[in-house]
């Protein structure tokens, strides 16, 4: 979710296989660099592998260009990597959030084969996504300060995952 010169990215903590809960501390939001984070919902192994491949690409980019990747560029990279597997995809829906030039917040999401969707306010993904859309839509206000943004994101996350049996067991919220 976008705030005033800041962004928030959040996830729940459950890793489950249908009805069985395997872990309650599963990391789904990953850092690419200080001002760029990616959240990956969906199949756990694909989320981890995709993240490792993105780190590979970003490290090479950093070594060659001697700078960090801009969020827009990174989103295009993720989209390309997902589309490479068009006929045998990664079962992952990424949520990308970062601060671009002049610390302008950037967020986007895409489907598992790389269709980018930019948004100005918030993006959601996962099993509770419909519930999240509703919660975010009603709670979102433009230009929120970091403290208020934290409250909003936490409330939206908690109320949505509570209505979804496959999500929950805590939450993780990061504000940049």
């Amino acid at each position: 979710m976008v705030g005033k010169n800041c962004f928030a990215i959040a996830s729940d903590r459950r890793l489950g296989v249908q009805l069985q809960t395997i872990a309650t501390d599963f990391q789904r939001v990953f850092k690419i660099h200080d001002k760029l984070y990616i959240g990956l919902s969906g199949l756990g192994t694909d989320a981890q592998t995709l993240y490792q491949r993105l780190v590979f690409r970003h490290k090479l980019y950093q070594l060659r260009e001697e700078r960090d990747m801009k969020p827009e560029t990174f989103a295009s990279l993720v989209s390309a990597i997902l589309y490479e597997k068009r006929f045998g995809p990664y079962f992952c829906q990424p949520v990308i959030a970062g601060l671009g030039e002049d610390n302008k917040p950037f967020i986007c999401t895409m489907d598992c084969i790389g269709a980018k969707e930019l948004a100005k306010d918030f993006v959601v993904s996962g099993t509770a996504s419909e519930s999240l859309y509703g919660a975010c839509e009603s709670m979102y206000k433009p230009n929120m300060e970091p403290e208020e943004l934290f409250e909003t994101v936490s409330q939206a996350l908690m109320s949505s995952v509570d209505r979804d049996c496959l999500s929950g067991w805590g939450g993780y919220v990061l504000i940049v």
Binding site: V55, F56, K59, L63, R64, E66
Partner: protein, 250 residues
């Protein structure tokens, strides 16, 4: 002379030498020198820049030093275009290892894989060897700080102090005399600058002609840091060592 054995890389001469490999080392002997010194708390790399025209406008931060991964860097002597290819190969190799094993590549393994590539060009394919010598500086959890020197033949060795490029023999013997175990990074820097000032051809030693990079562990986090010295800081270091000579008055 055994001239007819020169043209192919992939055959020995009657004396048992590979001429193309030796000619590659000749090419490096004409290039700007580079020095590496292993200290107790880091590794120091110093390079001599051959081209210092005012018109040169590089976008990269350093001409002779390259970062391969967050914990390994290298200094280059020789044909820069050959070096670029090898550095790219090294970077990819390091990342592929990190992708498979989710841990940073041990420095010796990286050096070995690069040298295997270089060796391939001396044995098959009919292509000429790479005209580059490297000084690899890095840290890993198995052996701590390490310095490796590699040459066009694909041979490599771990060193406490090494020199490649122009006047490397002279530099190497000076290092052999003055190197002591347990040097700190500061002492290593001073030693490197002293040796380089004596072996460089140019009359006056200024910060523009040199590059200095250090590999060390960040005090707070313990992460490996690769830092290229800024020209101002380098100028101050030279002055402190008493090595700057005023440019000759026109």
């Amino acid at each position: 002379m055994s001239r007819r054995y020169d043209s192919r890389t992939t055959i020995f001469s009657p004396e048992g030498r590979l001429y193309q490999v030796e000619y590659a080392m000749e090419a490096i002997g004409n290039a700007g020198s580079a020095l590496g010194i292993l200290a107790a708390d880091g590794v120091v790399l110093v390079g001599e820049k051959k081209v210092t025209s005012k018109l040169l406008q590089t976008s990269r931060s350093a001409e002779k030093m390259y970062k391969i991964d967050s914990h390994v860097s290298c200094a280059v002597a020789g044909i820069m275009s050959d070096a670029n290819i090898l550095i790219n190969t090294a970077r990819l190799h390091a990342q592929r290892y990190a992708l498979s094993y989710q841990e940073p590549i041990p420095v010796e393994q990286l050096v070995q894989s690069l040298c295997d590539t270089k060796q391939g060009y001396t044995q098959f394919g009919g292509l000429r060897p790479f005209g580059v010598s490297f000084l690899f500086a890095g840290w890993d959890k198995h052996h701590g700080f390490q310095l490796y020197m590699s040459d066009p033949s694909g041979n490599y060795g771990g060193w406490k102090a090494a020199a490649v490029g122009a006047n490397s023999q002279a530099a190497q013997s000076m290092l052999k005399q003055d190197y002591k175990d347990g040097l700190t990074r500061e002492e290593a820097v001073a030693l490197a600058l002293k040796v380089l000032s004596k072996t460089m051809d140019s009359t006056s030693l200024t910060a523009e002609k040199l590059e200095l990079a250090e590999v060390f562990l960040q005090p707070g986090t313990g992460e490996v840091q690769y830092q290229v010295c800024s020209p101002d800081a380098l100028g101050k270091l030279l002055a402190k060592a008493g090595l700057t000579q005023p440019a000759p008055e026109a």
